[in-house]
């Protein structure tokens, strides 16, 4: 166990630093190996974390809740690292020294980004958790700017400014949590999470209330909760597509993890009512905004970005329901959303490579032209829309069940209606991209309309298909029959979230 945690903190960091010097091809293989190794290490943590909370060296702490988020992050890291090999191989215009510099920075950034996201759930200390999440912002902002276009520069600037301002607010929340802890535990208190939770009932209420609201608003900036989501569609659409997948599937979830820690604290100190109401307001507002924006998108990466806002809203609403089955649904949703959104973005990356555009109107006939990625992208969109038999269907079903049991019908009905609107927006766009037949003149025709390039049937790269197939398999497993170990882990995490662990 100890070795697994130390290795998890070292492997991606070492891979990232090594990639600064390695040539591109080897760097890709090293990153893929690092991703797969990280995922294996997280799996090794499951048995221990399913039974007790573990902490090391005064700063690292692992419990069932953190392992759930580690699983989502490490799974996506492994998939995206393999996928990126194909993504970079099929890049055009990346020869020469500029191309080599791009490749080197991409691999180093990708590994360090994954490292920071894996480090955050391992921190057993609220200040270090904040530092880790700030590091994710810094690394990912550089990755967003990597493409070097004007759009990328604009998106990176908005992202770093808004996310840093948000995290400054979260820091203020963390400081109030320290103030509350130091009142009870004495001035030598070091913001460790475990001791704070054990004395939570005696913490001063005003300080905890402030800490929770500031943390939701601050970390919520990185989760993409309304009204502080505005950086999210820009960054997701302008980043290199593998980075978009990590941003959406892992980064948002890791930031949500920070909110959950403050939720645990607030629930133990103030009772469940106050934190749930706060999360409900943010969740419904985010879901409403995302559902409406999904109806009118012209760029398919922005479409997927708004879908992320939608799913983060669902997570917040699920936690606000508070029923055990809804909380289990939330944790399953984190895993399933990572797999589904990763798949969707990886599919979008194939579309970008094939059609050379991010506009929805530029893509037609995807199912005909892409024998593998077309159906896989369709499956990913259906999974995101909570169609059975995929994991998100199961998780949203559990959340809705929990909502009907505890929160009354009105809120649950709003949730279902908004999710349906989001489904409508997603499916209309996907329909035009994949199912509309592509009108392309024959290869020998001279009457070819300018602007519609002739495309042959085929996949850009096998590297870009295999991880998506694995992601789809994971979605099916989560939807049909989650493994017993995982169910046990999530049961313990739910108990922790309800404050009875």
């Amino acid at each position: 166990m100890t070795i697994a945690v130390i290795a998890l903190l070292c492997v991606p960091a070492c891979a990232g630093i090594a990639c600064l010097w390695l040539p591109g091809r080897i760097a890709g293989l090293v990153s893929a190996a690092s991703g797969i190794a990280s995922f294996a290490l997280v799996i090794a943590l499951i048995p221990g974390a399913s039974h007790r909370d573990l902490s090391w060296l005064g700063f690292a702490r692992v419990d069932a809740l953190s392992v759930v988020f580690l699983l989502a992050t490490a799974f996506l890291y492994a998939c995206v690292a393999v996928y990126s090999i194909g993504y970079l191989n099929t890049a055009t215009g990346h020869g020469g020294p500029a191309g080599r510099r791009y490749t080197r920075r991409f691999w180093a950034g990708l590994n360090l980004f994954a490292w920071s996201m894996l480090a955050a759930p391992l921190m057993g200390n609220l200040a270090l958790l904040w530092v880790a999440i700030e590091v994710t912002t810094i690394v990912s902002a550089l990755l967003v700017a990597l493409e070097g276009t004007e759009g990328a520069a604009e998106a990176a600037w908005k992202y770093v400014l808004l996310a840093s301002a948000g995290l400054a607010i979260a820091l203020l929340g963390t400081i109030f949590a320290y103030y509350a802890g130091a009142r009870v535990l004495g001035p030598g208190y070091n913001l460790a999470f475990g001791p704070l939770l054990t004395v939570a009932a005696r913490l001063p209420h005003t300080a905890i209330r402030l800490a929770f609201v500031l943390a939701v608003l601050g970390f919520g900036t990185k989760v993409g909760l309304f009204p502080v989501h505005t950086w999210l569609p820009d960054a997701h659409s302008e980043a290199p597509t593998p980075v978009s997948a990590l941003l959406s599937g892992s980064l948002l979830a890791v930031s949500f993890y920070a909110i959950l820690r403050f939720y645990q604290l607030a629930q133990a100190a103030l009772g469940p009512r106050f934190p749930r109401d706060v999360l409900l307001v943010f969740g419904v507002a985010s879901l409403l905004l995302a559902a409406l924006y999904l109806l009118d998108q012209r760029d398919y990466k922005r479409l997927l970005a708004y879908s992320s806002v939608e799913h983060m809203g669902i997570l917040a609403i699920g936690v606000s329901f508070g029923a055990p089955i809804a909380l289990a649904g939330v944790l399953l949703h984190v895993l399933a959303h990572a797999a589904a959104k990763g798949n969707a973005f990886m599919g979008a990356g194939v579309l970008v490579r094939k059609f050379g555009s991010k506009r929805i109107s530029a893509v037609t006939g995807g199912l005909d032209l892409l024998p593998w990625s077309g159906p896989l992208f369709l499956a990913a969109i259906l999974a995101l829309s909570a169609m059975p038999p995929f994991g998100i269907f199961r998780s949203e079903f559990e959340i809705v069940t929990g909502g009907l049991a505890t929160s009354g019908n009105a809120v649950t009905a709003i949730l279902v209606v908004l999710v349906t609107i989001a489904f409508f927006g997603l499916s209309v766009a996907t329909n035009t991209m994949l199912l509309t037949p592509r009108r392309q003149p024959r290869l020998d025709s001279r009457l070819q309309a300018p602007g519609t390039p002739v495309l042959a049937r085929g996949e850009p790269s096998a590297w870009m298909v295999v991880p998506v197939v694995i992601g789809l398999a994971a979605l099916l497993v989560l939807g049909l029959h989650p493994p017993a170990d995982l169910t046990g882990l999530m049961g313990r995490a739910v108990a922790a979230l309800r404050g009875i662990a």
Binding site: A141, L142, E150, G151, E154, L161, L172, N190, P204, T206
Partner: protein
């Protein structure tokens, strides 16, 4: 505040310094030259370090001296130097003013924005004053002032239309939070404080890189062209 150690003098001194920090924040509105904003930022950070030393002396928290030293080294010396290098490269200091030196601002006029900032600061001051968060290491009024500083920093960031001023607004926002931390979390372990400061330094470098990328692409430091991504 603890009257046994320092009745009156300590409280008054701490409050004066907190008010000066807020005044420095307002001063940043006034400064049209980016260079002067950097100077004001350095001065404001220096005031924070002075306050840390005073709180440390009164409450016998020796680690606050170390914190003040590290904070001063980073925020008064290193960060302004990094910003200067990024801004003017190797240009000699007396080389005259160029278009990029003048902080862009837009939307409301300066006077109107300052009025908004005063209203926002007053709101923050009284709202935080109404909170029952008693007995930190520094007087409670300093906490109210720090909330006002944070809110005014937001107004500053919204008002400004060039990337460097926005970045400086963000760093001064962080100064407001340092002030709040001195009031309610003076005994926060040093190692964590240093981690936070180091993090700030890394953030500054990344901001610098992004400012350079933006400057290289758009040939200006204005944010008025950063409007292509919408919807």
């Amino acid at each position: 505040m603890s009257p046994a150690h320092a009745p009156g003098v300590f409280t008054g001194g701490a409050n004066v310094i907190a008010a000066a920090i807020l005044l420095a924040e307002f001063g940043m509105f006034r400064q049209a030259l980016v260079r002067d904003q950097v100077r004001l930022y350095a001065a404001q950070s220096g005031l924070i370090s002075v306050l840390a030393v005073i709180v440390g002396a009164v409450h016998h928290l020796p680690e606050l001296y170390v914190l003040a030293a590290v904070s001063a080294a980073l925020k008064v010396v290193v960060i302004p130097l990094v910003l200067r290098r990024l801004l003017w490269g190797n240009r000699p200091p007396g080389a005259g003013t160029e278009a990029g030196d003048i902080a862009g601002s837009g939307g409301l006029s300066l006077a109107a924005t300052v009025l908004v900032a005063i209203a926002v600061a007053a709101f923050g001051f009284f709202a935080a004053g109404a909170l029952p968060v008693p007995g930190g290491a520094a007087p409670a009024i300093a906490l109210s002032v720090s909330v006002a500083v944070v809110l005014v920093a937001f107004v500053l960031m919204i008002h400004r239309r060039d990337v460097i001023s926005q970045a400086i607004g963000l760093f001064s926002l962080e100064n407001g939070i340092s002030l709040a931390a001195l009031v309610v979390a003076a005994s926060l372990p040093l190692i964590l404080e240093v981690a936070l400061l180091f993090d700030l330094l890394v953030a500054v470098i990344v901001f610098g890189l992004l400012i350079r990328i933006h400057h290289g692409r758009a040939e200006s430091l204005s944010t008025t062209e950063l409007t292509s991504l919408r919807g």
